[in-house]
Symmetry: C2
Subunit: 248 residues, 2 copies
Amino acid sequence: MTKNVFDKPLEKSTTSLIKDAGKLVASYPKVPITVDCVIFGFEESELKVLLIRSDLEMYKGLWSLLGDNVKNNEELDHAAYRVLKERTGMNDVYLDQVRAFSHPQRHPAGRVITVAYCSLLNIQHHELKIYKNELHWHSFSSIKGLAFDHKEILDACYKWLQKRIQEHPLGFNLLPDKFSLRELQNLYEAILGVSLDRRNFRKKFASMDLLIDVGEMEEDVPHRPGKLYKFNFEKYEKNKRKWIGIDF
Amino acid sequence: MTKNVFDKPLEKSTTSLIKDAGKLVASYPKVPITVDCVIFGFEESELKVLLIRSDLEMYKGLWSLLGDNVKNNEELDHAAYRVLKERTGMNDVYLDQVRAFSHPQRHPAGRVITVAYCSLLNIQHHELKIYKNELHWHSFSSIKGLAFDHKEILDACYKWLQKRIQEHPLGFNLLPDKFSLRELQNLYEAILGVSLDRRNFRKKFASMDLLIDVGEMEEDVPHRPGKLYKFNFEKYEKNKRKWIGIDF
DNA sequence: ATTTATTATGTAAAAAGTACACATTTCGGA
DNA sequence: TCCGAAATGTGTACTTTTTACATAATAAAT
């Protein structure tokens, strides 16, 4: 985090200056802000999205993204983490801001600006607890319409993910700790919507040298089991910079 | 723009439903929203940023980004374009949302959330009119500190630009209509902070086939003049998709 | 005419990406 | 226990992209 002027002790006349600034700011229009989280999961070779039944009567029967209003003096990132924690019980989930949506009529009750977040988690994770039965995982490709402008937000986050996953090894956040190369490839194919050559795919990951062979095999598969790997998060964090040049 | 539910005529009971939703939304905390534009220019082989003297007494002597509050029912993009138009007189400027900044103490007068925009324009453009003498172009590399959290915003936009310019031909927005390959290369070198091989650089742009030789030469240079080119915006717009796969 | 600075250009080597086939292993059922 | 089905695991040739590198030609300034 960059140091900013607030880290310095306040100077003599600052209190009155803040009052002046306060008057200025007080004249600005004020808007309710929400965060909306697109929570992606991966199961049965399909990309999934966690949705909730809309809490608005007028959207009865429609699903919507998980969101909440942003509290007083709450950071946007914090609000998004809070939503995740409240809805899934999980901490330490991959989360990134995508962008703000501000169409004046996007909320039927009047103006609400929302900031969209994209989050990736492992559906099978033991800490994952989907509270309330209004929450369900939906296959991404089957989602046709959502409440509010949430379909637009979902599509933006999906595109964001498609691009992002080609530049950073994010996919692991969607998989169990131990996974086979087939699962990994299925994941990439599902997200990118293409089919990939198995040998080239494996070669690519081998060259990255970020997979650790855990010395175990798949179980309960109706065919020859594959080796299981885990992602070398430590090594990735260390060498992050060289991945995309700048740590963006 | 995705079609949303508001395109449909309202159903019978909708009015009262909106009232319910309205009550809900009315309970949300409300926040002043601003947009801040990082306006990049390029001159004398240097990346420049347009800054204004801070209008807050307490930041006297410090520079800040160009911004404004977002009006009632105004889209964020619209607010950013408005700032650009008001400050530079220019329309049709390249502009893109980067992200929101929400640190609760980022504004001394209390909570203000801002959405950062990155904009690229041609400093020499004949329509460019910098109103008021509180506005000045600053060499990017010389900017040490800014009012508010604007240095942090500037750095985020700069990183965003570095990444973006490697994926899309944005650089042309910073150059005159006609430019030499040397100017183009200087631009890339300034933004990326590296030096590039001239032959390979030219080869790369030649292979894109997006430059039109206008049949003129540089003038007033103290050495052998180079050919002038213009960017083939039409062709680029047509083939945009193939550039990065998805039109992101 | 000479010097200086810059334009313009090609080729070879290395790296990365793509296309493609076959033997091996396990499961499960006959 | 044998066989078929289904998936794993592996290598090589070809193409494309990226990188490294040097010399002749042009215009300006003196």
